[in-house]
């Protein structure tokens, strides 16, 4: 399939934006997270559409700034970042690759396809370090708004778990 010039431009812009990582969890790109919703090119100007994760997530402003920087480096001057609220982000949008990267980084990923149902009375997450299914909650609120703190009952190590949202 041959891409038109516009499609090539858009693909290049997407690639640049998609490489931006979450400043709090630098192993995840905004594409892995599902925060990157769309990239549009019109009249040579790029518009990137992102959606916030948690209402008060302080990383969103940094992410917007880094998208602009990444696009400028890729040769797109004056790119615009627009935030959209609808449809609302959910942890179900985390890609499978993203979940694996989280686990390898030591953060238990949220169960796929669980969404709202797992928010209350969620089963204990598996330990990302030793793989044990036995863990306990230490603190429902962790180091960032998106994480809770757990402890493995087998290897005894504490670990962060991504909250279902």
């Amino acid at each position: 399939m041959v891409m038109t010039a516009a499609e090539t431009l858009r693909a290049r812009a997407w690639e640049a934006a998609a490489a931006v990582v979450d400043p709090e969890i630098p192993v995840l790109s905004i594409a892995d997270l599902g925060v990157l919703r769309d990239v549009r090119v019109a009249g040579g100007r790029v518009e990137v559409v992102i959606t916030p994760t948690y209402s008060g997530c302080p990383a969103m402003d940094v992410i917007a700034l880094e998208i602009e920087t990444a696009l400028a480096r890729a040769g797109f001057a004056a790119a615009r970042v627009r935030t959209t609220l609808s449809p609302a982000w959910t942890t179900d949008w985390l890609t499978e690759a993203g979940r694996e990267k989280l686990r390898a980084y030591g953060i238990a990923p949220p169960p796929a396809g669980a969404g709202r149902a797992a928010l209350v009375g969620a089963p204990a997450p598996a330990c990302p370090l030793c793989g044990s299914a036995r863990s306990e909650l230490i603190s429902a609120f962790g180091s960032t708004p998106c994480k809770a703190l757990h402890r493995c009952l087998d290897c005894r190590e504490p670990f962060d778990a991504f909250k279902c949202h």
Partner: protein, 269 residues
Amino acid sequence: MTHVPSREGTAAMPGSIQVAPSPPVQYVLRRADDALILGHRLSEWCGHAPMMEEDMALANMGLDLIGQARSLYAHAGTLEAAGHDEDDFAYRRDERAYVNLLLVEQPNGDFAATMLRQFLYAAFALPYWTAMMASRDATLAAIAAKAEKEMAYHLRHAGEWVVRLGDGTGESHARAAAALDALWPYTGEMFAVDAVERAAIEAGEGIDPSGLRPGWRAMVARVLAQATLAMPEDGWMQQGGRQGRHSEHMGYLLAELQHVQRSIPGAVW
């Protein structure tokens, strides 16, 4: 110094904005103010909570609420179309222009009072935002889709503490019971419907809060029973926050909240 006269004959502070009295704008501002003021109250605990985990919990819950407030203020600004942004609404109004529930401005008191306040509000806000996801106002529905998940988390956390404190020691039970009795007269305002609420409900954009009362009572009764706390009688209910008539605590809260913007107008980070 020249003072701009505002409604009710009081003088507006220099640099204050005047917000349109339009019902759709006021409807959104009410929710935004609830979230900002409760979020501010929770932020006052930062560095003072009884343990590290609760310090993080209170700051996190405050952050959720201030995040909700930001989205709601931005939406109010769009509806008002007078060029006011979220900071204008948060920092540049006089006390009488804030339209939050009296419940959320009540002082933190002890840890039991803070957790009871959070529980009573979250037990209302969760079904409120869940219902709001079906609003005809697409932005409100989108804000609601996030807020309801956050409020479910707050409800669980605060509810667990109500049970722990109520069904704890004699001292923690007494404190939780005292907080419940002190806060109860502020709960009726959550379900009140006036012209602003009615206009939004009729437009299919707002939620009828009176319809949420039985579910709220059932949730509160269940947790209080587990906490061995007696459910107070519904007596005189204190109201006025939705009309800008606040308790004596609000002025002190705003003095701290607004201090930097009032001293150095337009200051940015």
